[in-house]
């Protein structure tokens, strides 16, 4: 990081550039584009959790005069199993295709079977009923524990467990196993004065983005095809879609619309390849929009888990051993976030002896997608609940026991490297010194504290800054803005160029305008795309200095850049950015700065949350009384949007802890695919979330930035779980803590 300096623009709470369009309704989202001659696509979905398709006859639908095209799995070019990087990490191409349209077998309620494009939405809906499908129903398995049994119904007869010492000879629902170990776990437990172990359950949950998946596409046989869609990563939509349909990347333009929430759920493709097939077959532009029920049944929720954790500690609170067995549901195809779960579960602590074993398991539910710090909330929930129980047993303050064991600079993580400077201790101290933590509780109220960790990532970003003849700038980035990142890019460019932020207009460009950009995810955008912005701005400054040097007939090295002005150090003369840009036509043409990077050195982020919950002893209803979210941002570029990330993560975590869950019937049918029955927290349910920003700079970023988008969802599960346990006098091992579950636990509590 550059040496400490005063910032002129960074740290301001400027108005976001996209704000006016959004609050006035002018912003265009996924479903907002219509094209001349456009027709509508709809998907026929499985009514069964697991079944063989014995007959699929579309002939009656084809004869409907309003039907323009029908797509089935057979319309994909030949697809084989092949790992490729797209959006949320490595994806198997064959699994992706079979998830988008079933290949002879449906694997979950809502699994897409075929799609119809028709002149109107109503005709498309009507035509779906003309498709004749017959099924041979197969036994289904809905829970990770059941799916891991030897005699469980198998989803795939070609799935063999990876990561076992010996190559298995029988297929299994366990797609992968991994382990991490450090020190001597047996000796660690032998050294402990107190040992606590428990198994925890977390349910399938949804990211709960308000905007459903939507796209409008136009296939061009000879020219460039176009996809307009709501996504966190349009370059990866292009990569996945082109790979599936065997198209050249240059023949597919993907435009990212504004996005109404994603949280990891919009990092893959569902509708886009299907609508392109329909467009190709019909010769018409095609629009497809999921309804809310489809979003719940057939997009990618967050993984359900059954996680066992055992921790040993000395009487003084020093942890001597930490062990976990983490079982993650992947949904119908392999690829749960079991890996990051194993890598994060104990990272907040400096521990000598640890052992973690993880399992990635397929079940008859939709294929999971990323959800904010994927895998970490479930694993760290289990660890933090056990730590709070140990603290209670030993009579040690829950913040003090964490301070005693906290990871710090030099701590060797279980997943490998030693940590650089991190801010966990600062977060713990900020919470301990907060008014919130010192405030007294009333009857039937309880308090919970939990820590959380997420790695954050870097990755590829490409940015150009076009200087206009009047000295203003257009900042062209390729990272969809899901949390106010345009404002952050604007401030970082202003800081580097030293020109006013409101003279810089950031835009998110389509895939034809810029080189590849990684998906907005992994808390990477302000960090990585920000570094590309800085590089592009430095490129602009270099050229500005060269232009001024040419005017003064000196060398560029004899020109300084001060407060947005070129200063001649070899004589007299100052030229502002406005003056240089106005004369650019006479000094070599217009000025464009470029920054194309693959950012490394992402700074991990720790958080600590405090939750106060009140429990109604007659009904089991809970109420969040007060909540504080404290997190290390490295450097908060735009404090309001950093606070917004903390608050948003906390609210989603509170919902996960208190209410949210997929409820399936015994037949494996989702019973609550709507926001009335799948209850996310509303503004009226919660107090203002107090956000405390800690700033321990990331040494690898010019301004010290760490990603902040994900860590905030990690601590709430255990903070809320512990608060409810303390308020109600119960032992909490299962989420969500809905009123019936809390009431039942209170009625049978022996705690």
């Amino acid at each position: 990081m550059s040496e400490a300096r005063e910032y002129k623009y960074i740290g301001q709470r400027s108005i976001r550039p996209d704000g006016f369009d959004k609050v006035t309704g002018r912003a265009n989202y996924g479903a907002d584009l219509s094209l001349p001659g456009m027709i509508w696509g709809k998907v026929l979905r499985s009514p069964h959790a697991h079944a063989k398709i014995t007959k699929l006859d579309v002939s009656r639908a084809e004869q409907h005069p309003g039907v323009m095209a029908i797509a089935t799995y057979k319309d994909f070019p030949a697809v084989s199993s092949e790992a490729f990087e797209a959006g949320e990490g490595a994806t198997d191409l064959l699994d992706l295709a079979r998830n988008i349209l079933a290949d002879g077998k449906v694997l979950y309620d809502g699994h897409a079977i075929c799609a119809i494009a028709a002149l109107t939405e109503a005709i498309a809906d009507e035509a779906l009923s003309l498709i004749d499908v017959e099924y041979e129903i197969l036994p289904h398995v809905m829970d990770v524990r059941d799916a891991m049994k030897e005699d469980a119904p198998l989803l795939h007869d070609d799935l063999f467990t990876q990561g076992l010492p010996e190559q298995p000879d029988k297929p299994s629902n366990i797609a992968a196993r991994m382990e991490l170990k450090k020190g001597d776990i047996d000796q660690g437990f032998a050294d402990a004065d107190v040992i606590v172990e428990r198994e925890f359950y977390t349910p399938t949950i949804h990211q709960g983005y308000i905007e459903p998946h939507a796209c409008t596409v136009r296939y061009e046989e000879k020219g460039t095809s176009m996809v307009w869609c709501c996504t966190q990563g349009h370059f990866d939509v292009r990569a996945s879609t082109a790979k599936l349909l065997k198209m050249d990347l240059s023949k597919l333009k993907v435009v990212a619309s504004e996005i109404g929430g994603g949280f990891g759920g919009k990092t893959t493709v569902y509708l886009e390849p299907v609508s392109l097939i329909l467009s190709r077959k019909s010769g018409r532009p095609v629009k497809m929009v999921m309804d809310r029920e489809e979003v719940f049944r057939a997009s990618g929720p967050g993984s359900a888990t059954r996680n066992w954790v055992k921790i040993g500690a000395k009487k003084d609170g020093t942890f001597t051993a930490m062990q976990a067995r983490l079982c993650y549901e992947a949904g119908a195809f392999k690829g749960s976030p079991m890996g990051p779960g194993c890598m994060t579960v104990f990272t907040p602590y400096d521990i000598e002896n640890a052992y973690v074993e993880g399992f990635d398991v397929v079940v008859n539910k939709p294929k999971v997608a990323a959800y904010r710090a994927p895998g970490a909330p479930q694993a760290e929930f289990a660890a933090e609940m056990v730590i709070n129980e140990i603290a209670r047993e030993l009579g040690i303050d829950p913040i003090d026991i964490r301070l005693k064991n906290a990871a710090r600079e030099g701590t060797q993580t279980l997943y490998g490297p030693k940590l650089k400077a991190v801010g966990l201790i600062e977060c713990l101290e900020a919470c301990k010194n907060s008014d919130h933590y010192k405030a007294a509780l009333k009857d039937n109220q309880g308090r919970g504290v939990a820590a959380g960790f997420w790695f954050n990532i870097g990755g590829q970003s490409s940015v150009t800054i076009n200087m206009n003849p009047d000295g203003t700038a257009t900042l062209v980035e390729g990272s969809p803005d899901i949390g106010g990142s345009r404002a952050s890019m604007q401030l970082m460019a202003a800081e580097e160029l030293q020109i006013p932020a409101d003279k810089i207009t950031p835009i998110v460009a389509d895939t034809e305008v810029l080189a590849y950009n990684g998906t907005t995810g992994g808390s990477r955008t302000t960090f990585a795309t920000g570094m590309a912005v800085i590089e592009a701005a430095q490129d602009v400054i270099r050229q500005m200095k060269e232009r001024a040097a040419a005017v003064w007939n000196v060398t560029a090295e004899q020109v300084d850049w001060v407060d947005g002005t070129a200063v001649n150090t070899a004589g007299e003369g100052r030229l502002t950015a406005v003056e240089i840009c106005a004369g650019a036509d006479r000094t070599g043409g217009q000025i464009t700065g470029r920054g194309n990077i693959n950012a490394r050195g992402a700074g991990p982020s720790f958080a600590v949350h405090i939750a106060d919950i009140e429990v109604d002893r007659d009904t089991g209803r809970t109420r969040v009384i007060r909540y504080t979210a404290c997190q290390d941002a490295g450097k908060a570029i735009h404090p309001s949007y950093v606070e917004g990330q903390y608050q948003g993560g906390a609210v989603q975590g509170i919902g996960w802890a208190l209410n949210e869950e997929y409820i399936y019937s015994k037949d494996g049918i989702l019973e609550n695919p709507g926001f009335l029955d799948y209850r996310i927290p509303l503004a009226s349910d919660l107090p203002m979330i107090d956000a405390l920003i800690v700033e321990v700079p990331n040494a690898f970023h010019p301004f010290g930035v760490r990603g902040v988008g994900e860590t905030g969802i990690v601590p709430p599960l255990a903070a809320v779980g512990t608060a409810v346990a303390n308020a109600a006098g119960i032992t909490v091992t299962e989420l969500p803590l809905s009123p019936p579950r809390v009431l039942k636990a209170m009625q049978s509590s022996s705690r």
Partner: protein
């Protein structure tokens, strides 16, 4: 000389927890350890991320490795 520390998964293939490698670049380091440990497949290693002195790098092909560097291979991390 860099110290390469293997995860428990990789230890199954190397039979040891760590090794010392004389390498100036990441490419050279991978060449040497895949020659030393026949069960370590170069393609699989090259798909992994790496942490060199605590800095996580997803695409390390052209990275240099210091005399006293500590190197860990990691699963690539994505996010939401």
């Amino acid at each position: 000389m860099a110290t390469v520390i293997f995860s428990s998964e990789l230890q199954r293939l190397t039979g040891e927890e760590k090794t010392i490698v004389d390498a100036g670049t990441y490419r050279e380091l991978v060449d040497k350890i895949t020659t030393r440990y026949k069960d370590l497949e170069r393609d699989e290693i090259m798909k992994m991320a790496v942490a060199i002195d605590g800095e996580i790098i997803h695409d390390p092909l052209l990275e240099s490795v210091g005399d006293n560097s500590e190197v860990h291979f990691l699963y690539r991390i994505s996010g939401g």
